[in-house]
């Protein structure tokens, strides 16, 4: 489904600030794989996601989705394969547009947009059904501007917008990191639900080890631009935070210095 083949990305090459964010990273996701990515700050997790989404160009290597080479494709063209949720709850929705207008925008992801009405009654019915699955009561607030929703609600909406059009790949970039624990748990549950309902192929970056273990069927750990540990479906079932931390220090002889990783 998604094949990342020896991609590299260096920021500020040739300067004192040169930083190798990705060093010949390869990763393959099969249909319906749900891979969680963990690693400390600067490990290259987000860079990995951003190269897949097209926000950052790769220096070398190739990325194929569904057999199509996309690594030279601009971000907006890759969107037809990808659903994305960002870390910032404000980033995935347009605040001055209503809930139904935001969903209409998401419905046309990767398709050409013409002069047809944005919100028809047929679409509205679909949106109501979809929103009802969130169990946040948003199905009764179709004409509410998204800017009036809370961060948790907006992130839940972003998740729905990314998932309900069945993208080939769903990219989640620390999408619960900016929420308080309660709302993070809500969004985590929704993630589980949306991904398993549609069997979406998913790549999720997270800071939270427990979340990384709880969600998905595979796990990878990154450090300094490399994948240093992979847990297959079998191995992942037996994983605990402790064994993960053990793996990390064994492999790198270092401790994960990030506060967020330890919660």
């Amino acid at each position: 489904m998604l094949k990342i083949d020896t991609i590299s990305k260096t920021f500020f090459p040739g300067t004192v600030n040169e930083r190798k964010a990705l060093q010949t990273v390869s990763l393959e996701l099969d249909e319906s794989d749900f891979v969680t990515v963990i690693g400390s700050n600067g490990a290259g997790k987000s860079t990995l996601l951003n190269t897949v989404s097209g926000r950052l160009p790769v220096d070398s290597g190739s990325i194929t989705i569904d057999g199509a080479e996309v690594s030279r494709m601009p971000e907006y063209k890759r969107a037809k394969y990808l659903g994305r949720v960002f870390q910032d709850p404000m980033a995935g929705t347009a605040p001055d547009l209503t809930i139904e207008q935001n969903l209409s925008l998401a419905l046309k992801r990767g398709k050409s947009r013409g002069l047809g009405r944005g919100t028809t009654s047929a679409r509205r019915a679909l949106f109501r059904d979809e929103l009802a699955t969130l169990e946040l009561g948003l199905e009764n607030r179709l004409k509410t501007k998204v800017g009036l929703l809370s961060g948790g609600q907006r992130q839940a909406l972003s998740l729905l917008m990314a998932g309900f059009t069945q993208p080939r790949i769903l990219l989640l970039d620390e999408h619960t990191a900016a929420l308080d624990p309660q709302r993070a748990a809500l969004v985590t549950n929704l993630t589980q639900k949306i991904v398993s309902n549609d069997g979406l192929t998913t790549l999720m970056v997270t800071h939270n080890m427990e979340q990384a273990i709880a969600l998905g069927n595979r796990l990878i750990m990154m450090h300094e631009g490399e994948i240093i540990y992979q847990a297959s479906a079998e191995e992942k079932k037996a994983l605990t935070v402790k064994t993960l931390l053990g793996e990390f220090s064994k492999l790198k002889g270092a401790t994960l210095g990030d506060r967020a990783l330890l919660n």
């Binding site: 709850p89 404000m90 605040p95 925008l105 947009r113 013409g114 809370s150 961060g151 907006r154 900016a178």
Partner: protein, 353 residues
Amino acid sequence: MFGALELGLIYGAMALGVYLTFKVLNFPDLTVDGSFTTGGATAASLIIAGVNPFLATVAAIGAGLIAGYITGLLHTKGGIDGLLAGILTMIGLWSINLRIMGKANLPLLREDTVFTPLRENMLLGTWVSISALLAFTLILKFAIDWFLTTDLGLAIQANGNNRQMIRSLGVNTDNTTMLTLALSNGFVALCGALVAQYQGFSDISMGIGLILVGLASVILGQAVFGSRNIFMASLGALLGSVIYRLIIFLALRAGLDTNDMKLTTALLVVLALLLPRWGFLKRIPSLRSRSNRASSKAPAEPADDPASEAGAQVPAGTVDTPADTPGVPAGTPAKAAGRTAAGTSAASDSKED
């Protein structure tokens, strides 16, 4: 008085164009000063060459579309800052406008214009002409309303609202930006063509300072009508233009000189921008948040007021900060963005509960 109303309605076309860029696209487009004159110049010189005035007006719209498109090209493909891109086109157009007209002033005194039927029947300056102009500008307004609610129009609105998001949904934001700038300047050029025919001449300097007139109209309209939805916002822009002309009319009545009008306009815009900050006319506009995002976060609106404009504007100001960090290493900025996001989401959570 009737003259002021007529002018206000004619200039409403320009206000609608400015509304498209300034409010919808969130792009301060200064091309307006140039493209307005381009519209007037194109229409006037074609009319003098014997072209049907309606065709000449259509041609003027075309010229405006091109002008806006050029600004869009400079901004999107050339990566030039929006303000500067507009200024560059505006300055360039000065020479082009002179080329089009051949001299600095083209009188249309004995030519047929789109206003000739009204003028010959002595209907200019009566309720008939005002109704006709009102009907015409309302058609323009409803066209914009309709366009902005289509799939393409929604993408344009989202483009001005959250560029990162709409790009991730597969919209080529370069194209939508250029399209909106072109459309906006099409409206402005249409207005220029009408003004030239209404006043009976086209002049090289007829567009100077016009962007402020447009802004004044949009802001005044918003102060009076709010911007709850597209319908009210575009109506506000249109009628704001009329209100602006009435204020100018009254200022002239009060003994001010026509030379004082630019200053009056500037003061009007300054006042309209400052008054809301002093707690007056609370519901105006994101123009403020553009200049001062920090302060726009401050007012916490009660949750039981879903229509409150200030509430809707709060996230608008914060949203594009984290969105524009491509090419930056993932670690630190993402962290910082996360922290601000956590702050604002916490704020909006408490608002919700």
